[in-house]
Point group: C2
Chain length 221, copies 2
């Protein structure tokens, strides 16, 4: 019984790691599709999002099975419940990568918001780092990575604010399409960072037993 439980819990961990790897791939490729106006790559990200959704459903069923069959308590219970939450957060991160790719695909053969390329590139890099670090955290629980994810999120918040300031400046002469795209892209990347931090915090909690104060987690954006 215990061996079956251990095996099931291991599979849950493997599923989370697989989802996080797919999410990191998705956000990396979505950003590159956006910056390079790569229609093919954008299309792949959009299609591959279904794989992330599929693992989420399988993982959720597996967690329900564990809860029903094994009635875990204490730490094991927190791990299973945390896995349920993280799978839905990872699924949402995959959706955000897909939304970025959809904008890239929609503007082809043009690039989306060329005037903001430096900012989009920084957002792409920060989001991709955050996703790789979330992947690392799920593999090895190295809390240094959790701190780095929060730093990436702070960068994404700052780039988001900067983008809005740029668009509201009188020097912004881009058309409505580009204003819409910049607004959405900036928001997608900023939300991606929020979700990455949410996962980092849950892993910190699992490892240390301590929850960061609610004041830090309430986003007033």
């Amino acid at each position: 019984m215990r061996e079956i439980f251990e095996a099931e819990l291991q599979q849950v961990g493997d599923d989370l790691q697989e989802m996080s790897a797919l999410v990191a791939e998705a956000i990396d490729r979505a950003g590159r599709a956006l910056i390079d106006a790569d229609h093919q790559l954008a299309q792949e990200v959009i299609v591959d999002d279904l794989a992330i959704d599929t693992i989420e459903r399988a993982l959720d069923e597996r967690c329900l099975y564990i809860l029903a069959q094994q009635a875990p308590v204490a730490t094991d219970l927190r791990i299973v419940v945390t896995a349920l939450r993280m799978s839905s957060t990872l699924e949402r991160m995959g959706d955000l990568a897909r939304h970025i790719a959809q904008i890239a695909r929609g503007r082809y053969p043009d690039r989306a918001v060329p005037v903001l390329e430096p900012t989009l590139r920084e957002m792409h890099e920060a989001a991709t780092r955050a996703a790789r670090r979330v992947q690392g955290l799920l593999e090895n629980r190295d809390l240094e990575l959790a701190a780095q994810v929060k730093a990436d999120d702070a960068i994404l918040d700052q780039l988001h604010r900067q983008t809005f300031t740029t668009m509201l400046d009188e020097g912004w002469t881009e058309d409505a399409q580009q204003t819409i795209d910049a607004t959405l892209l900036s928001r997608f990347y900023e939300r991606f960072g929020d979700h990455a931090v949410s996962i980092a915090r849950r892993i910190e909690f699992l490892v240390t037993g301590e929850l960061e104060s609610a004041a830090h987690s309430h986003h007033d954006n």
Copy 2:
């Protein structure tokens, strides 16, 4: 033991109903604050969002307690796990109402995007109906309400598309601030509808045991 369990499960149901009532209040007031440029009302929505977050945390802890102490199985287990998912969806709906109120507050004493008032009014009405129907669903499991929530969401999707079409038309001469606001508001309302449908589907599943096909639930927006 069974009595304690029943009492705890009842409390979970009460918490969800309370959250859904607060969410319906929030989206109703946020829309009115937006359309009427009501700074005071906007500020109340923003502050009151903390109450929704507080109930979410209490509900999550209660669910963990039930899972740990009672080891529920079968239907009771699905109810507890579903409650966990619905509480985080309701919390997110509260956040979206807060974001709408923040835009209303930020543009005061002007109204946000006056040229789109008819559309914003329709979005406000559809979202408020959806939230009230979710509240009703959590009280009495009337699946007719679930069908109505999906209809409200379809209206919100259509208004979202309409808003983007309007902004991309050459007749759109509004400045960047209004383009940004229209983009965000439209997205917030559209996401609110998505979340409402997600809750409606979960309640349908709990009641009927049948999950709507994945093809219906995959949003490619």
